[in-house]
Symmetry: C2
């Protein structure tokens, strides 16, 4: 049998978040291979936004409240019902569609744990330095003066949160890294987990505004095109 | 029957997010009244963090991976398994425990839609002004020069995102409002939905860092107390 449409009714709702993430990625891979239309029912907004090409939001009685691509659903909910349905994290969820590749990374605050005082002083314009191991993997944040004094051991470094991979992860992951870190800076790593730079929450905020502007300009272009 | 402990096994997993939120709040209200210990099983991290006084994370085979208050679980996951389990939004989820009451609101960029040119010019140091209706409810953002020229109607205002209630909502809601708004500013409203001020994403970021610092100082105090 080769039905034209598959129906999946809340297939992942009873599994834990780690397994669910794996199943979602496997579904996207299979869908990419088969190219078959799947009607996927879920109560999990993140799941709908991650998996859907188009998302239909239904209100009580099965009436259609909105039918839109995920990014549009998040940026322009049709009415207060849809807005409530999308929940209090709509802005942050929307950042999943904003790329992190254009963030300007700063490399000078990144220093290896065995750096000498001269190297540290050179980097010391930043309020905190990201200390890495000999392979360049992040260990944590330290204040420059304490590093120079040699009074910092690994156990005293401040947590660096959760790093992001520039160009692969979205601005949502970069922002999460910045707000998770007590320094307000996010750590960028390459595919091998080596620190490639750091970026302030403020710089992430500027990238978010730039992405909003770009999105608006695109809309105006589309409007002009439609009118022309 | 009045059992000493109630077991609820994924009671809200099959309902939509709006209904779920209502049920969660009702459960908190009942729990507050009865003061009974409830063992609540869920796969929804946000639900666990919102409802639990203590949260137990179980790994494969039912072994306990971590048992901690929600805020500690988010700030200090015990191992990579728990960290993965908490997901990519751990930093943002943690902001639910940071209060928004100390954010410094700016009121000068808030102007009523019928403001005269003089009033607008007085507020015009901000890149965008928040336009409100006659009752003070937010309508949207406009550039000051376009407002002065009288060339702005309601349909052309930029979306003001989702407002937050200072002191009631957390910094998570304030940050969401800021990243949702194309201007990068969040709108604060009172209980009647009237704009009481605006706050930049940068100011929200500074409040987040201050909350981190406070949390660290508290920890050190606790350490000193335990040692003393």
């Amino acid at each position: 049998a080769d039905p034209p449409v598959l129906l999946m009714d809340e297939p992942f709702s009873a599994v834990d978040p780690v397994v669910r993430k794996g199943l979602q990625e496997e579904l996207l891979r299979i869908q990419d291979e088969l190219g078959k239309t799947i009607v996927f029912v879920t109560h999990d907004i993140d799941e709908a936004v991650k998996l859907g090409t188009m998302v239909a939001v239904l209100r009580t009685g099965g009436h259609l409240a909105q039918f839109a691509p995920p990014a549009e659903l998040l940026s322009e909910p049709a009415d207060p019902f849809v807005e409530d349905f999308l929940g209090a994290d709509r802005g942050i969820r929307r950042l999943s569609f904003f790329a992190s590749g254009e963030l300007e990374l700063e490399t000078s605050p990144v220093v290896p744990i065995d750096a000498d005082a001269e190297r540290i002083s050179g980097a010391a314009t930043a309020p905190y330095l990201l200390v890495t191991d000999a392979d360049g993997r992040p260990l944590g944040w330290a204040e420059p003066e304490r590093l120079v004094a040699g009074s910092v051991d690994k156990g005293q470094l401040l947590s660096y949160g959760r790093p992001f991979r520039p160009g692969i992860d979205s601005l949502r992951t970069a922002l999460d890294g910045a707000v998770l870190s007590p320094t307000g800076w996010a750590v960028a790593v390459d595919g091998d987990g080596r620190a490639v730079g750091v970026v302030s929450q403020q710089a992430v905020g500027e990238a978010i505004r730039a992405a909003h502007d770009e999105h608006r300009t695109d809309e105006h272009r589309t409007d002009a095109k439609a009118a022309g």
